[in-house]
């Protein structure tokens, strides 16, 4: 959006957190992109695995071979789900620190659903465990057993919508004053197309994963899935990956791109997204060749397909980040300016207050080196002293700088307290004017 329009359009311009970023911004961005992709990979596997388990178990009502198949898929979900959660922490941290205001604002505006993630996911996981560990107990009550995983699937299908709504809303500060409640934010453009994109990706990724997982020599497909031919099972997974990705490339991807607000789609982001699509297309060609070949050679391109798709996903993830950076840039610039103005205003107000209260600054040079321990002692000695407003160290000069209310705490008391800590302080030489001697400009005594 044009910066000049931001203020006119009812777009809020909040102040940012006035503390520095803990790492260089590019590094945080790299961490965000990579850790997010790792997280979403396992989320895909968790969701795709649950959906396929449900599908296979329902089919298993008529054909018991599929019941075995369902049980085999179910084994993978509980592992993938734990990784999905734990790998979610890093991107959460990174987006929190990089886009604090944007992300938290979106969170608050959809707050009940946002915390709702906790009980919903917890319930889904407990259902999945019950489903997995009580398989034999429910042998005679198949429908109830299916209901367990069906309920988990419903929950797991809903939760991504909450995340997508948040990540979408954070990009549109101009909407913050307009949405009211989760659903109004969910129906903003682009959430639903992205959701479909994510669902199709989940099935594709899970298809590819199950293909690789069951193809391994050590898996023992023959004994684990009696009644199925090896090629029969593997082709299912490969086919799933293929058709869902083709759907993605032909319909869902373009739909997603078209529903992005165009004014923020630059050649950078569009280029990255299209490059990703190109590589994915190449991967599909390889996969297709594989699928057309005989059973013995099934999967000979698997490594290449997986590699190409990883690259495609990296492109997509970077394109998404590039888009985010561009969309938010003007608003972030406005915010930075306002934050700076606020800091100035705040300082000026302090100075007013200091004039009223007789607040002064005192810089005390210390003989002993102000190591970590000494600094800690000093802070502890003064931290509950109401008259001390601020206390900072200058390690190069080896000085402690006090901002304090002289009326309530004479400088002499400060010196004494420091001496009680066994620190030798260098007292400023008293000059003619009694009170100003200790105030600014601060005498910087030389260490003997």
């Amino acid at each position: 959006m044009n910066p000049a329009l931001i203020l006119l359009s009812g777009t809020p311009v909040p102040r940012d957190i006035p503390l520095p970023l803990p790492l260089p911004e590019w590094l945080l961005v790299a961490l965000l992109v990579v850790s997010f992709l790792l997280h979403i990979l396992f989320v895909n596997l968790m969701l795709g695995g649950s959906v396929l388990t449900l599908w296979a178990e329902i089919k298993g009502l008529a054909d018991t071979r599929y019941d075995r198949l369902a049980q085999e898929i179910a084994q993978t979900i509980t592992v993938n789900k734990s990784l999905a959660v734990v790998l979610g922490v890093a991107p959460l941290l990174s987006i929190n620190v990089l886009y604090t205001v944007h992300f938290y604002s979106a969170n608050a505006l959809t707050g009940d659903f946002w915390v709702g993630i906790v009980p919903l996911v917890m319930a889904a996981f407990l259902l999945l465990y019950a489903h997995k560990y009580a398989w034999d107990k429910f042998a005679g009550r198949k429908k109830q057993h299916i209901a367990l995983v069906a309920a988990a699937v419903v929950l797991l299908l809903f939760v991504p919508l909450i995340f997508l709504t948040n990540v979408n809303l954070m990009h549109f500060p101009e909407e913050w004053g307009r949405v009211s409640g989760f659903f109004s934010a969910m129906f903003l453009a682009n959430v639903l197309p992205r959701y479909l994109h994510f669902l199709a990706a989940s099935l594709a990724v899970t298809g590819l994963f199950l293909f690789g997982y069951m193809r391994r020599a050590g898996y023992g497909l023959g004994e684990k899935l009696p009644g199925f031919g090896r090629g029969e099972v593997l082709r299912k997974w490969y086919g799933l990956a293929f058709w869902t990705t083709v759907l993605q490339l032909l319909v869902l991807g373009p739909l997603n791109l078209l529903t992005l607000p165009w004014n923020s789609v630059t050649w950078d982001s569009a280029g990255l997204l299209l490059a990703g699509a190109g590589v994915a297309l190449a991967a599909m060609a390889l996969l297709w060749l594989d699928l057309r070949g005989p059973d013995e050679f099934l999967g000979r391109n698997f490594g290449w397909v997986a590699l190409a798709l990883t690259i495609a996903v990296l492109f997509m993830g970077s394109g998404r980040q590039a888009y985010r950076a561009v969309t938010l840039a003007p608003h972030r610039a406005e915010m930075a300016a306002r934050t700076e103005r606020q800091i100035q205003l705040s300082r000026a107000a302090w100075q007013d207050y200091e004039r009223q209260m007789g607040v002064t600054a005192l810089e005390v040079a210390v003989v002993e080196k102000l190591g970590w321990y000494a600094r800690r002692q000093i802070v502890r000695a003064f931290q509950f002293e109401g008259a001390v407003i601020d206390l900072t160290f200058d390690l190069d000069a080896n000085t402690v700088r006090f901002t304090y209310e002289e009326a309530n705490l004479p400088a002499e008391r400060i010196f004494e307290r420091l001496e009680e800590l066994n620190l030798r302080v260098v007292r400023p030489v008293p000059s003619g004017e009694e009170t100003t001697a200790k105030t600014e400009p601060v005498p910087k005594a030389v260490i003997p």
């Binding site: 203020l7 009812g10 809020p12 311009v13 909040p14 102040r15 957190i17 006035p18 503390l19 803990p22 509980t78 734990s82 990784l83 734990v86 922490v89 890093a90 941290l93 929190n96 620190v97 604090t100 205001v101 938290y104 604002s105 969170n107 608050a108 505006l109 959809t110 707050g111 009940d112 915390v115 906790v118 996911v121 996981f125 407990l126 560990y133 913050w176 004053g177 307009r178 949405v179 009211s180 409640g181 109004s184 606020q342 705040s346 000026a348 107000a349 302090w350 009223q356 209260m357 970590w372 600094r375 800690r376 802070v379 502890r380 931290q383 509950f384 109401g386 900072t392 160290f393 209310e405």
Partner: protein, 486 residues
């Protein structure tokens, strides 16, 4: 000020975080940190019996695996999700403070995350390969080694988190230094760790005892030695827990009492402190008695009694967690940011110009004659709503009514004289940040809400927010309040 404010007027925002955090701490201490080492040890002891008594070794191993199943399921569902939940809820309830904390602690949390991944991977390998490991002796040895690594990682995650908790209680030299390490290694760190480690071990033992009451019911042969050993575990850790608690008990007042800023605070602290002694004594004595009983006469220890220690220890841990209320005082980050999310450094500005004049999400940038209720509502949201509701938990109406002589009426004059002094009365309340006009509006609003029982106070999640324009005219009326010390 700068975030749309989520608000739960019935349940209360503080209670939301507290519920999630307490659940998490319980699962973390009792299950991850304390229970795992005991399970690994029990597995090892069972393994050693394989030559002398293979039958017993097999049932033993099966019982231990089954109690581990419970631990596994709880940690990877409730434990994992409440851990994430602390973040999600804190970002809603106090976005400014969480945002600030993350900037300081990104490194600690990132390291924590790496260790956490390893912990999750190890716990999965450990539990999911349990059955398969029984097939050969070398596999079992490897399995037990895995368990040991898992134990170390679980303890490390706690060691890091304790640093963050200790920081929030006492910022040490961070406010002067603003570096990561000075924030992390602060004076409360070691006492915390010394106390929490044995307590977690005790809780792990107590939890195992509870589970054995169920899972070893049908296998008396295994039940007897298992209960006996678990009791021994509890017996060994209890004195250490007692020492940790005593150290904490003695160290904290020394560091804190003289420093608490108000007399009321000091009194409340002393009450708590003397009740703490009772709690320590009861918890330790009960643990010792039950553990001795279980150790000496495991057969005669009834299931109900086996459930007691974990309950007592939860109370024990809970009483210690309260210390944070006292020590943190009105800050989320000591001497830097108050619990209402306002920075100390901004107070003179807000007091001079008005809180509303600088707020991003208000429809009343200044108090005028005809908007007092609406303005008061915004002031309440900004200055009080992080800790109070209008009508729910810790309701501000009820609080003011309780202060009146008949306990039923609101007295505007008394309220107006109380609020500017509230930080001296209740030391965990931050000072009122607004102008005199805003104070009047706040009181009008509270009185209005008392009269209109049908009106509620929705949060940003229900109704969205109104956007104020920056630098909207600040009326002279708003400048009425004088600047004052934060």
């Amino acid at each position: 000020m700068d975030f749309p404010l989520f608000h739960l007027d019935f349940f209360g925002n503080r209670l939301l975080i507290a519920t999630i955090a307490i659940l998490h701490v319980l699962v973390n201490h009792a299950l991850a940190v304390g229970f795992l080492p005991l399970v690994v040890l029990l597995e090892y002891l069972g393994f050693r019996k394989r030559r002398t008594d293979p039958g017993l070794a097999a049932t033993w191993d099966d019982v231990v695996r089954r109690i581990m199943l419970v631990g596994f399921i709880i940690t990877t569902t409730v434990g994992a999700m409440t851990g994430v939940g602390i973040w999600l809820s804190a970002s809603l309830v106090n976005p400014a403070s969480l945002g600030s904390l993350i900037r300081v602690f990104y490194g600690a949390w990132f390291t924590e995350w790496i260790i956490f991944i390893l912990e999750v991977v190890f716990i999965m390998i450990y539990f999911l390969t349990w059955r398969k490991a029984g097939e050969s002796e070398t596999a079992k040895v490897r399995h037990i080694r895995f368990g040991t690594a898992l134990v170390i990682f679980s303890w490390l995650t706690m060691a890091i988190i304790v640093g963050i908790l200790a920081f929030m209680m006492d910022t040490g030299s961070w406010t002067a230094d603003k570096t990561f390490i000075s924030g992390f290694v602060n004076p409360l760190y070691l006492p915390q760790l010394l106390f929490r480690t044995p307590l977690a071990m005790m809780m792990g033992g107590a939890f195992a005892l509870l589970l054995l009451a169920f899972f070893a019911r049908r296998t008396p042969d295994a039940r007897r030695p298992l209960v006996s050993f678990t009791s021994l575990w509890l017996l060994v850790w209890t004195p250490m827990g007692a020492v940790g608690a005593a150290y904490y008990y003695l160290f904290i007042p020394d560091a804190m009492v003289g420093n608490l800023p108000t007399a009321v605070g000091t009194m409340a602290f002393m009450d708590w402190h003397s009740s703490l002694l009772t709690v320590i004594l009861v918890a330790v004595l009960l643990s010792v008695i039950i553990a001795l009983w279980g150790f000496l006469a495991p057969r005669r220890l009834p299931g109900v009694v086996m459930a007691l220690p974990i309950i007592v220890l939860m109370v024990f841990l809970g009483s210690f967690e309260r210390i944070r209320e006292f020590i943190r005082k009105p800050y989320v980050i000591g001497d830097y940011m108050y619990a209402n999310g306002l920075r100390m450094a901004d107070y003179p500005l807000y007091r001079r110009d008005g809180l509303l004049a600088h707020a991003t999400y208000v429809d009343t940038p200044a108090v005028t004659a005809d908007n007092t209720v609406a303005a008061g509502r915004n002031v309440f949201m900004l200055a009080c709503s992080r800790c109070h509701t209008v009508r729910g938990v810790n309701s501000v109406i009820t609080k003011f009514k309780d202060m009146s002589s008949d306990g039923r009426t609101l007295d505007p004059a008394a309220m107006k004289s109380y609020i500017p002094k509230m930080h001296n009365v209740w030391f965990y309340m931050p000072p009122f940040p607004g102008t005199a006009a805003e104070l009047d509006a706040l009181v009008d609003y509270i009185i209005h809400m008392d009269k209109h029982a049908d009106e509620s106070l929705p949060g940003a999640q229900d109704e969205g927010v109104a956007v104020a324009h920056e630098e909207v005219a600040r009326t002279d009326e708003n400048r009425r309040g004088e600047g004052g010390a934060p």
